[in-house]
């Protein structure tokens, strides 16, 4: 034994010191143990017998010795070490000096309880060792690093439901109800301007000779709310006639009507055609 009585209980991760070091080390590594119970279990392990047959008295004595030597080197001990020491000192006295009324049942119970706690700690320590010895995922064995995604997303379907349809409808109604301010309905008739543009454009590709004014009416009238087709049709006819008269006045075409209220015909001005042809020939 070292003169100063220091002992070195190694912390779990520490390397074992050499002999000389052992006897000169002034520090007691009690914090290498995970608390007083851990030290008690370690002491029990040192007895190298079945935990069930271990001598609690020996264990208590050993613990008290360790704590005493720790105090001799003035190591600061956490309160729980001292609490355990006090309790074990009490236990030891009761075990050593049974009362005159026979065996001290209180001490026997306490010793049994301590034994049970040590056994449970030993079991859990064994379980931890068993777990540690297993191949651990991410340390000893590895799973597939990247899962293969065998999923196909089908975007062909439509997610439709009636509430959606209703919300859309309500949104439209709310919006237009908010926006709608009174204004007279604008009826988009086929205007003289429209007809002029159309007539001028069509004249170039019209075959020589008379053709009906009707054929210069637009195929599709501008979008309109007017449901009275006849009215829109009449307006288009009037517009086209006025445009025709305008162009006839400027000599670009000729108009004729064989009888009152009869069909109206028009043809491009021949002179213009000739000019055009002459132009092409040059």
């Amino acid at each position: 034994m070292a003169p100063d009585g220091a002992i070195a209980a190694e912390p779990p991760s520490g390397s074992a010191p050499g002999e000389g070091e052992l006897f000169t080390a002034p520090v007691l590594h009690l914090d290498g143990f995970e608390g007083p119970l851990d030290l008690l279990l370690e002491l029990a392990r040192a007895q190298k017998v079945d935990l069930a047959r271990i001598s609690i008295l020996d264990l208590v004595t050993q613990y008290l010795a360790v704590v005493e030597s720790a105090r001799r080197v003035r190591l600061e001990l956490a309160a729980d070490w001292l609490v355990m020491a006090a309790w074990l000192a009490w236990l030891k006295s009761r075990l050593l000096l049974p009362s005159e009324d026979g065996p001290d049942e209180e001490a026997a119970d306490a010793a049994e309880l301590l034994q049970e706690r040590l056994e449970e700690l030993a079991r859990m320590s064994a379980a931890a060792a068993w777990l540690s010895a297993r191949d651990q995922l991410g340390r000893d064995v590895f799973a597939r690093g990247e899962a293969e995604t065998l999923v196909e997303i089908d975007r062909s379907g439509l997610a439709l439901d009636v509430p959606q349809l209703m919300r859309a409808w309500m949104a439209v109604i709310r919006r237009t109800a908010r926006k709608r301010i009174y204004r007279p309905r604008v009826i988009r008739f086929w205007t003289v301007q429209d007809a002029l543009v159309r007539l001028r454009r069509l004249l170039g590709s019209t075959p020589p000779g008379w053709s009906s004014l009707d054929s210069y009416l637009p195929e599709a009238l501008p979008e309109t709310d007017v449901t009275d087709r006849a009215r829109a049709g009449r307006a288009a006819m009037a517009g086209t006639l006025i445009a025709g008269l305008e162009l006839a006045k400027s000599g670009m075409l000729e108009l004729k009507q064989d009888e009152a209220f009869g069909k109206i015909f028009l043809r491009p001005q021949e002179e213009m055609e000739m000019t055009a042809e002459a132009g092409e020939m040059e």
């Binding site: 999923v151 379907g157 409808w169 009238l221 979008e223 829109a232």
Partner: protein
């Protein structure tokens, strides 16, 4: 391990290691990474010049091992990776239907057609208060939600649109009569809404005609 001669390359241990490495990596493993692993472990035969051929042999050995199996080592962008055998992939592939939603404009247009059918494009625009992109109608036609229902006999003879049987199927409706009626929806319009005389008058008209229609149905 350094005395492996070229003729017995790759050793079983090399193939196993590469197999495990490709398996456990979170991305395709590059030839460079494999080579560096093998070199670190001193598993590359001494005096080998042509490392590419060496690696090729490892890959070939791995492919031989997995020939005809459920998974195969394959070369993908950036390296090697295990992949499900092509003939098995379709059996394992889970198809997740992720239905699309209709865009707002399309949904609103569909709602208008549902309530006003048959109606023209111009009428839809008038109700929505904005002009309609051609693609909106195209989408609805492609999905067979709407179809032409003749032409309106006005100048220009615009196409009239109506909903289809597919429309009913998509919305789980037995018939158009299953849709909430317009006046039922109108009651939910917030009172505070600044409605104009005209809008009110129109609503009244609509309700009146709906009521008539309802009576005719009955």
């Amino acid at each position: 391990m350094t005395d492996i001669t070229q003729d017995i390359w790759p050793s079983d241990q090399v193939v196993r290691l590469v197999e495990a490495m490709i398996f456990s990596a979170s991305a395709p493993v590059s030839a460079k990474a494999i080579l560096s692993l093998l070199e670190n472990q001193d598993l590359v035969p001494d005096g080998v010049e042509d490392l590419d051929t060496c690696l090729r042999a490892v890959f070939d050995a791995l492919q031989t091992r997995y020939a005809g199996r459920g998974v195969l080592p394959s070369e993908v962008a950036g390296g090697w990776q295990f992949r499900t055998a092509p003939d098995l992939a379709p059996l394992l592939t889970k198809v997740l239907p992720r239905p699309r939603r209709l865009a707002r404009a399309a949904m609103e247009t569909l709602a208008i057609i549902a309530y006003h059918q048959p109606c023209t494009r111009a009428e839809i625009e008038d109700i929505r208060g904005v002009s309609l992109g051609q693609n909106v109608l195209d989408t609805l036609i492609e999905e067979s939600l709407i179809a032409p229902r003749g032409r309106k006999e006005v100048p220009g003879r615009p196409v009239l649109w109506g909903t289809t049987a597919d429309f009913l199927r998509h919305f789980g409706l037995k018939g158009l009569g299953d849709l909430p009626r317009r006046e039922e929806l109108m009651t939910e319009l917030p009172e505070a809404l600044p409605r104009t005389e005209e809008a009110q008058a129109e609503t009244a008209d609509l309700l009146a005609s709906e009521a008539q229609a309802g009576e005719e149905d009955a």
